[in-house]
Amino acid sequence: MQALSPDPTTLRTVTTTERIPAVEGWFTTSEPYTLIGAKCTGCGTVVFPPRSGSCPSPDCDGTELEPTPLSRKGKVWSYTENHYAPPPPYVAAEPFEPYALAAVELEAEGIVILGQVATGVMAADLSIGQEVEVDLQVLYCDDEGVDHWIWTWAPSAPKGSA
């Protein structure tokens, strides 16, 4: 059983560098950041959030779906700004700061996915059709001081910049 005990040094390294996702298996936590969908091995249909057991297409009997990374970039389908703290189970910071949400269309997958917009980017900074890409930020810090991360939509860097 000795082999199963983690080396404390390694463990510390892992806990300080690894990002704990607020939800398991929906996105990568190291670069390049992408959302992770599920793809039916039968018909190739993609679904987000990822699921297992049954293809979402009514014409497909497929029961095997495998994780598949989604396009990192998409175009804003619509957006809004929350001006009041959402109720629990949302963990709102105090004092609450308004933040934006965007629904983003991934062209290759033909899916629109909702997400928080990167902190500081507000509705006035967004427009329909604008290119955004997946990034991560801290959603909340739990009672034990552990940060939980979530994907965000961040405006893509303008052409020519780094």
Binding site: T45, F48, T80, N82, P86, L101, I111, I113, I128
Partner: protein
């Protein structure tokens, strides 16, 4: 023309909408007794009770059909308890309608009541990581108003609507609601009131978003034969021409509450008709009627902008032109297509399981010419439409 399959709304009753925090059963009893009195039917004669459930009131809310049956006094009737979020009332309507058409009952009660907490709707308690409704709150803080706002924003950026167009919906509905004794807010709002209303989910202000209310509604429905015996004639009887509980067709490519993502249209092509269009389409098909036949409509104005979407989904105008109808007064009381002559959710606030039944009550009274002060002239066909979370379509068409 109505056929013998078109059941009759024999009576309708409501408990006025408000915010008192009483037990939802108390409200329901008032509505039930009012509907029975309106129909002149004894409780003992009701053969089927279809309850629309509420999920925030413990066990009695989950078994609304049983709860109201027991509260009124057990009679051995057959019952059902239905839940479909905002469409619960329409699902209960269809439950009772099918039982009657299947020959299991001649007369039935459809009933829903709710009492609601203050503030935004929050998901039911507990940590439920696999519940999409829990996920959208926990991971994104995507409230109901946020979803309304995404659609409102599309209207502005794609169709050229303005926030003033949205406000006009509230102005119109609040004006009609002043005369409705069952409405909770009987105050006429003006465009000026909007400037002082705080933004909730940009571009929507507090005044753009409907409140949550306490309230109850009940209707008594029956076969034409039963109504004939009771009334002596079917002349002027309000007939149920359609009830549609339509679900989406895969892929559902419009982002809908409470989903974090749409289906993919990369492998399977999107259906010709989107979900919200199909709700009305199926009801029209069932009734053998079209948008041109509708005298008045009750639509869910959960947000002001949402009412404009419904105009288009109902075929009252082409997509993108909804704002014109409210600007031009087409959908106002006195216009060619009055919408929410009751005052709508703007004047009522939503009492979830009661609301779709309340729409039927309102239409019944409109078709009977009993809507003093907010009567649509010469109303012959009434339509009620809404949509519940998780793909629940709800459309009812009545006619005289």
């Amino acid at each position: 023309m109505a056929t013998e399959r078109d059941l009759v709304v024999l009576g309708a009753g409501m408990h006025p909408w408000g915010k008192w925090g009483k037990n939802f059963v108390d409200y329901g009893l008032v509505a039930a007794k009012a509907a029975l009195a309106d129909a002149d039917v004894a409780w003992r004669d009701i053969e089927f009770v279809a309850g629309a459930d509420t999920i925030r009131n413990g066990y009695p809310g989950f078994v609304a059909g049983s709860t109201f049956s027991q509260a009124m006094g057990w009679t051995g009737a057959q019952i059902s308890s239905s839940y479909a979020a905002c469409a619960s009332g329409a699902q209960a309507m269809q439950s009772a309608r099918a039982q009657i058409l299947a020959g299991f009952a001649d007369v039935a009660m459809v009933i829903g009541a709710d009492t609601t907490p203050k503030g935004f709707f929050a998901p039911v308690g507990g940590e439920r990581k696999e519940d999409p409704d829990w996920q959208r709150f926990h991971l994104l803080g995507a409230t109901n108003p946020a979803f309304f706002a995404l659609n409102a924003r599309r209207r502005i950026d794609v169709f050229g609507d303005t926030v003033e167009d949205f406000a006009l919906v509230k102005v119109k509905n609040s004006k009609a609601g002043v005369a409705n004794p069952n409405a909770r807010f009987r105050k006429e709002f003006t465009l000026d009131d909007f400037a002082g209303s705080p933004i909730v989910s940009d571009p929507l202000r507090l005044l753009d978003i409907c409140a949550t209310s306490d309230g109850a509604a009940a209707v008594i429905i029956c076969t034409p034969e039963y109504a004939m015996k009771k009334l002596g004639t079917l002349q002027g009887a309000v007939r149920i021409r359609a009830v549609s509980n339509t679900t989406p067709t895969y892929p559902q490519v419009r982002l809908e509450l409470p989903d974090i993502a749409t289906d993919s249209n990369a492998v399977v092509q999107a259906p010709v008709r989107g979900f919200k269009d199909s709700i009305a389409y199926n009801a029209y098909e069932q009734a053998g009627l079209g948008p041109e036949d509708v005298s008045c409509a009750e639509v869910y104005d959960l947000s002001t902008a949402l009412e404009l979407d419904w105009y288009e989904n109902l075929g009252f105008c082409p997509e993108g032109e909804g704002a014109r109808l409210v600007r031009d007064g087409v959908t106002a009381l006195g216009g060619a297509k009055p919408v929410n002559a009751s005052g709508g959710l703007a004047s009522f606030g939503e009492a979830i399981p009661a609301q779709a039944i309340a729409q039927v009550c309102e239409l019944t009274w409109q078709l009977q010419g009993r809507s003093d002060g907010h009567q649509v002239e010469n109303a012959k066909v009434g339509l009620a439409i809404n949509q519940g979370l998780f793909g629940h379509g709800s459309c009812t068409i009545l006619s005289v």
